[in-house]
């Protein structure tokens, strides 16, 4: 209801000048907010490409989706933390290890934020990182294959929300706990009463190292912190390169009814961490080794397989002892977004419940630290004086500021959840210069290159939390809505409204020419090192290891080899290792077998994938290709015969044998 009222209000605002110009022309719906040339600005002609890739978190679907901009066309969903029956991610034998954790196989997560790799603070188009909020994880996606290559679990963490934002040369990805939890001297999670939050609960932020060449991640070090909620974070840029900034709420340290109890104080904190100093201390052995268990899952593009390793140690730094690594800056009130402008000088805290947007100055922060201009300590960590670090406050920006992006021309754009709008303001003057409505209740917003040293600008995209009446209704459950605005002029202009899949939180957009030319088309069959590969039909076979039956199978338009298999018995586990012999772009084959308790597999050219099947009854079962591959796709099928336990039907396999009955018939 509230949203409807807001909408009517906005419609009225827009309608007023129109009505003056053309009496009798009443706007019927929100489309009247769009100007006449909007369609041409987002029209991408058939066969033409979009200008930007937008890499969008999937929220509660646990995946990442890829859209083209400005068209808003969905190009692909990349499976990350959640099983994806469509291509077998998390169902095939090769991909199952990628979803392993210290809790075992966890086939879902809540993916919130995207961070694209940067070199010198600018997009380099190599990797996309995304966090798993629920069972704390960070994943790395290779942007030449659009595949998840690595997932690392974050130990000593609970609720990895403040993540996976990167330092300027992608030295580290960050992981901050949203939910603090009890940690004893061994940093394990002991059995204590929940109402001992103030005494026992701690938070951590982890710096996840990233190898410059391979992208391979590791837990570099962790910083042990007071028990509060760490919400969002950004690295510094240029002069503030060595620092990482975090928003903190619930400095009240409430453990129940946070809606009220974590909204008591007028100010919480923006936390500044000198990660370069932390790195030095960790290298100098000033951290404490903490016994932990976390899974580290890595994909090998040559064996087409993932492996999961359980690691058991991290280095933890304690700022109570190492005095110059962490400082707090007071920030009104329950800050959510914490964003750094392209120059690296200004840090914007977005207090969800605040009437202003405070902008902090890095230069002033440096001076305040040097002058020890503290107002006190919070759990042993110095708190700088608000006035000493403040550049200025944006007055009356709107209601419910959440996140801020930058256009590189001296302006910031802040999303306003409660008043459903994007507010553009001048950073230097801390003055609002423009505002546009969003439909409805915007969460994150994204400007191509917005979180980098050199924003690409041009558009801002609103990712909204409420959809209501934007599209044709589909029952109680609706898709999410997004809007694209032109920001090339002084005024923001609404161009396009498009539905999004999952529940996007943050997204980053990047010029297509940084990714498209590097896109991989096939996996070379010569380089396939899968242990069960069949490099050609001559290598296709079926063989038995105890009750395991392995079938090294090939697929090419349009047949499998072998396609007739006999001698499988009840009690056997059958592994179909299917190699796609095709070497041409966009010729995948699929594979499915009746009654399999998992999914299909989709095999890319040159790749090998394995589907496990445990037959539960005697009979003959069809196998077939699920991806329409050629005019004879419907012929791409075969049979597996399953005999009773203890049967003496020998294991045989064939393709193209002329029909001659070999066994008894009934």
């Amino acid at each position: 209801m509230k949203t409807q009222h807001l909408f009517l209000l906005f419609a009225a605002i827009i309608a007023a000048p129109l009505a003056l110009l053309s009496p009798g022309c009443k706007p019927q719906n929100p489309t009247s907010a769009v100007e006449g040339d909007a369609a041409s600005k987002v029209y991408v002609a058939p066969g033409k490409y979009d200008e930007f890739y937008s890499i969008v978190s999937g929220g509660f679907n646990g995946q990442v989706s890829v859209y083209g901009l400005p068209s808003g066309r969905l190009l692909r969903i990349v499976p990350v933390f959640s099983q994806f029956p469509e291509n077998g991610w998390g169902y095939s034998e090769e991909t199952k290890p990628m979803l392993n954790t210290s809790h075992g196989f966890v086939p879902w997560d809540d993916s919130h934020h995207i961070a694209l790799s940067t070199t010198n603070g600018e997009h380099d188009g190599r990797w996309a990182f995304v966090n798993g909020n629920n069972t704390p994880r960070i994943a790395r996606i290779n942007l030449s294959t659009f595949r998840t290559e690595e997932i690392i679990e974050i130990p000593n963490s609970s609720g990895n929300h403040s993540s996976p934002f990167l330092t300027e040369n992608s030295e580290y990805a960050i992981a901050g706990t949203r939910f603090s939890y009890p940690m004893d001297d061994d940093n394990s999670n002991p059995d204590v009463s929940i109402n001992t939050y103030k005494q026992n609960f701690k938070g951590t932020v982890s710096f996840v190292s990233i190898d410059k060449e391979t992208g391979r991640m590791g837990i570099g070090f962790q910083v042990l912190l007071p028990g509060v909620d760490f919400d969002l974070s950004r690295c510094g840029r240029g002069p503030s390169h060595d620092w990482f900034f975090f928003s903190c709420y619930n400095t009240e340290q409430a453990n129940t009814l946070l809606e009220v109890n974590a909204s008591q104080k007028d100010k919480d904190f923006i936390m500044a961490v000198n990660w370069k100093k932390c790195e030095e201390y960790a290298k100098a052995g000033k951290g404490k080794k903490s016994k932990v268990r976390y899974a580290h899952n890595v994909w090998d593009e040559k064996t087409h397989s993932g492996t999961s390793t359980i690691e058991n140690e991290v280095v933890v730094l304690d700022p109570k002892e190492l005095k110059d690594i962490v400082y707090f800056m007071p920030c009104p009130k329950s800050p959510h977004g914490c964003d750094v402008d392209p120059s690296g000088e200004y840090i914007c805290g977005s207090g969800k419940l605040a009437a202003v947007i405070p902008v902090f100055s890095f230069t002033k922060m440096q001076k305040a630290i040097a002058d020890k201009n503290f107002e006190g300590e919070y759990d042993g960590i110095p708190v700088l004086k608000y006035d000493a670090v403040l550049h200025g406050e944006v007055k009356k920006p709107g209601l419910g500021p959440l996140h801020t992006e930058f256009d590189g021309k001296g302006f910031a754009y802040t999303s306003m959840f409660v008043s459903s709008e994007i507010v553009k303001w001048n950073i230097e003057k801390v003055e609002v210069v423009d505002r546009v409505p969003t439909y409805y209740s915007i969460g994150h917003l994204s400007i191509p290159g917005g979180p980098t040293r050199k924003p690409h600008g041009k558009y801002v995209i609103a990712y909204n939390k409420i959809t209501k009446d934007r599209y044709l209704p589909t029952g109680p459950e609706l898709t999410q809505s997004a809007q694209l605005y032109d920001i090339s002029g002084d005024k923001m202009k609404l161009l396009l409204d498009f539905p999004t899949t999952g529940e996007p939180h943050y997204a980053e957009a990047i010029p297509a020419n940084l990714i498209a030319p590097k896109s991989v088309k096939i996996f070379k069959i010569e380089e396939n090192n899968h242990p069960y590969v069949a490099k050609g039909e001559k290598e296709a076979k079926a063989f038995r290891e105890g009750n395991k039956v392995h079938i090294n199978m090939t697929s090419i338009r349009s047949h499998f080899t072998p396609d007739n298999i006999e001698g499988v018995k009840i009690g056997d586990e059958v592994y179909f290792h299917v190699t796609n012999l095709e070497q041409d772009w966009d010729v995948p084959h699929g594979f499915a077998v009746k009654g399999a308790n998992n999914a299909e597999i989709l095999i890319m050219p040159g790749e090998t994938c394995t589907l496990k099947w445990v037959p539960d009854r005697v009979g003959v079962f069809p196998i077939y290709c699920t991806d329409f591959c050629s005019a004879l796709h419907q012929e791409m099928q075969g049979y597996v015969r399953v005999s009773p336990r203890g049967s003496n039907v020998p294991l045989t396999f064939s393709t193209g044998n002329k029909a001659e009955p070999t066994g008894e018939t009934k």
Partner: protein, 155 residues
Amino acid sequence: MSGKTTFLAALLMIAFLACTSRKEAEDAAKKSPTPSEAATPQPEVHGTEVKTVELTNPLNKEWVTAGKGIYDTKCLACHKLTNEKLVGPGWAGVTKRREPVWLINMITNVDMMLATDAEAQKMLEECLVRMPNQNVTQEDARKIIEFMRENDGEK
């Protein structure tokens, strides 16, 4: 417009589009600040017409062996070495029926052949599966031809 002219016009259009899109991709590649560690681009090996192929005797034995290896991985699934048709035609006698230039273009440049060559189009009508591009380089395709010649009894 006669059917033939339309067809030619379409071909010209395709050729033109192919050129522009490749050029655009190259320009885009030049513009982007590719960091040295980034994945190397993966060019597609099909798409260039081969005009001449030189045959020599005796056969190059190394090429015959290499050609057979490639055949086993990338061709055998559809082509027998006899004259029996499987998905595609059997290879027995193929070097007597076809010019080497025709063979090498069929292997490395199949999209062009299926678009322009009447004999190739006739094969597609018979087999109904487009001969796949198997990402074979011109050098490797030449070795396959050497293997075909051996299969046809040449020394």
